[in-house]
């Protein structure tokens, strides 16, 4: 996704474009589109910006994003502001069809009319690109778009964001961004089998694009509980902080979206997230000494070259594994994904390096990886449940799916 970031940055004037007051609707729309990370889905690999055609993997099949450049025949050049608002607010296309919630209208519904209009103004100002929309063909019954009407009844809560008068302006701004444009819970909240959010487990972690997205609650072990507001801001702005580094789909979110937000908005997001309650449950890590010894041996042999012998990593370079939220996540999927397939840290303007971890899945067996991961979740004061071989197998499947979705 780096070329998209490149193009976004290239089409922007300079970094100061963010800091200047955004007088014009187009400038405001540009900023909001970055916050909503529209370009990420609406630009195909090697394709023109916002011209659609990207295959978005969902549990129900692949959904192709559409052309939202102002081309009159193949894009949304003929859409009125009202029609665009209806799509964003209700998930209904200009031709009256239901959109699949791979397009995150359940979140964009929260946007104010003004903000939606500004985004439209920005899109209207883009160079029109002639690119026919690829047909999305989900298996029945999902191929029948009217099915979405039923899904919406169960899982879609239409309505613009309503500020909580008991909270600060900063908190409300953060809530507006996180629950709206940010659509964070689209990945970071667990979903039920129908793809609806388990709203009782808000932001406790979920799957998105074959990666496990960790908890954003204030759980001390597997969430942001021991992160300061500055930690969160630094992470979203640069791609890393002393405690963690963004990889996988989150790296692209940071590159395309959050690194372009201003500090005030990042702090607002941080303030809101730190208020989301976590369970802070007791955890039961592995206690079998022999199993832990084998995991420890694997760690020293394979991992200590970067993550150091005591798990403390090299802060701002290789994340510490000690106290690490991804390591202690309720589901070990993200950690396993990285061990199996490697990872590359977000490359941002403030930290362009993009340090990478190689794949170890080719030389470690499922058993090795399970024991290593189990050890990591019990070492240095970490506390999280052991990892089973089946967890590793499932993650290998997800890695393969992610590769096929390329």
């Amino acid at each position: 996704m780096r070329e998209i970031a490149l193009l976004i940055v290239a089409t922007l004037c300079t970094a100061s474009a963010w800091a200047e007051p955004m007088h014009s609707a187009i400038e405001r729309g540009r900023y909001l589109a970055a916050a909503g990370d529209c370009a990420a889905c609406h630009t195909a690999d090697g394709g023109k910006p916002y011209a659609g055609g990207r295959p978005v993997p969902t549990p129900f099949g692949v959904i192709y994003s559409t052309n939202i450049t102002p081309d009159k025949e193949t894009g949304i050049g003929r859409w009125t502001e009202e029609q665009f608002y209806q799509a964003m607010h209700e998930g209904i296309s200009a031709d009256g069809k239901h959109l699949y919630p791979a397009f995150p209208y359940p979140w964009y519904t929260k946007l104010s009319r003004d903000d939606v209009d500004a985004i439209k103004a920005f899109l209207d100002a883009l160079p029109p690109v002639r690119e026919e929309n690829k047909q999305t063909a989900l298996p029945w019954p999902f191929s029948v778009r009217e099915v979405m009407a039923g899904w919406n009844t169960l899982y879609f809560h239409k309505g613009e964001f309503k500020p909580d008068p008991g909270q600060s302006a900063e908190w409300n701004r953060g809530a507006y961004l996180v629950e709206g444009l940010g659509h964070c819970s689209a990945c970071h909240t667990p979903k039920n089998i129908a793809g609806g959010l388990k709203t009782g487990q808000k932001l406790e972690g979920g799957y998105g694009e074959n990666w496990y997205a960790t908890s954003l609650t204030n759980d001390v072990r597997d969430g942001l509980g021991d992160w300061t507001l500055d930690d969160i801001v630094q992470y979203l702005k640069t791609g890393a902080n002393a405690k963690a580094a963004a990889t996988g789909p989150m790296a692209e979110v940071i590159e395309n979206s959050t690194q372009h937000l201003n500090d005030a908005d990042l702090r607002a997001i941080a303030a809101y997230l730190r208020s989301v309650p976590g369970r802070n449950e007791a955890k039961s890590p592995e206690t079998d000494k022999q199993r832990l010894a084998r995991g420890e041996a694997l760690y020293i042999d394979q991992c200590s070259g970067c993550h150091m012998e005591d798990g403390s990593g090299q802060p701002q370079v290789f994340p510490p594994l000690k106290g690490n939220a991804v390591v202690q996540a309720r589901e070990p999927g993200a950690m396993l994904h990285m061990i199996i397939d490697g990872a590359r840290i977000a490359a941002t303007k403030s930290n362009p390096t993009g340090l990478a971890m190689p794949a170890f899945g080719w030389k470690l067996t499922d058993q090795d990886i399970a024991e290593l991961a189990t050890y990591l979740r019990a070492a240095w004061g970490n506390k999280a449940a052991p990892v089973a071989v089946s967890d590793v197998k499932k993650t290998r499947d997800r890695v393969a799916k992610a590769a096929r979705a390329q």
Partner: protein
């Protein structure tokens, strides 16, 4: 969403960021076994003298070095794949290095035959593998010093090549087939290709405590190829 090649927009540039995070193919990987049974008999016997099995531990034969050399000769090394093998060929000075038309595989094939031929002449019709240990040592010393004149190839050059490859097989990562059970590394006290000694480097004079590990892990029987 997998990470994208950030330079894919520039047509002629290689897909940089899309380079997989998985490792690339290994040009030192073993090929098919090269030695004939007769050559294997020679090699087994020679290895047993070059690095014998003794009270200090397994020797080259036990460490799988014969198979290592055989499969290296069957691979890119044996084929001199990276060497400059264009003619014309002239004998040079020793400062000018290897100037033969023969690849290592061809060299071994000729040399082993030549050595056996010499042994048959000098030891009443016996090939090297059939000699007693003392005679075998004598032959090896003779090759090493260049005292023996072989029919086709230089004895000294063959000995040097064989001894180099023997040490390589004895001390390379066991994933190449030699250094079985870390025999070579255990002999000398090398803990394998580890990557972090920050805590240990200033513990002057202290032995390093961890057992040997190969690239494929602490089980020396995991191979490649």
């Amino acid at each position: 969403m997998e990470r994208r090649a950030f330079l894919k927009t520039i047509a002629l540039v290689p897909a940089v960021g899309a380079a997989p995070l998985r490792p690339i193919a290994n040009p030192a990987a073993p090929g098919p076994a090269f030695f004939t049974p007769q050559e294997s008999a020679f090699i087994d016997a020679a290895l047993a003298r070059l690095i014998p099995n003794d009270e200090l531990g397994p020797g080259a034969k036990e460490a799988g070095v014969a198979g290592f050399i055989s499969r290296q000769l069957g691979g890119p090394y044996g084929r001199a794949q990276t060497w400059y093998m264009q003619g014309p060929w002239r004998e040079g000075t020793k400062e000018q290095g290897y100037q033969l038309k023969l690849t290592p595989a061809e060299f071994y094939r000729s040399a082993i035959e030549d050595v056996d031929q010499h042994c048959r002449g000098a030891y009443g019709g016996k090939n090297f593998a059939e000699l007693d240990a003392a005679s075998q040592d004598k032959v090896l010393h003779g090759l090493e010093k260049g005292d023996i004149k072989l029919a086709r190839v230089s004895a000294k050059q063959f000995f040097d090549m064989l001894w180099h490859n023997t040490r390589e097989g004895f001390l390379a990562d066991p994933m190449y087939g030699g250094n079985r059970d870390f025999a070579g590394w255990k002999l000398i006290g090398f803990p394998g290709p580890r990557y972090n000694y920050v805590a240990e480097i200033e513990q002057y004079g202290k032995p390093y405590g961890l057992p040997p590990v190969g690239l494929m892990g602490r089980d020396p029987n995991r191979r490649i190829g």
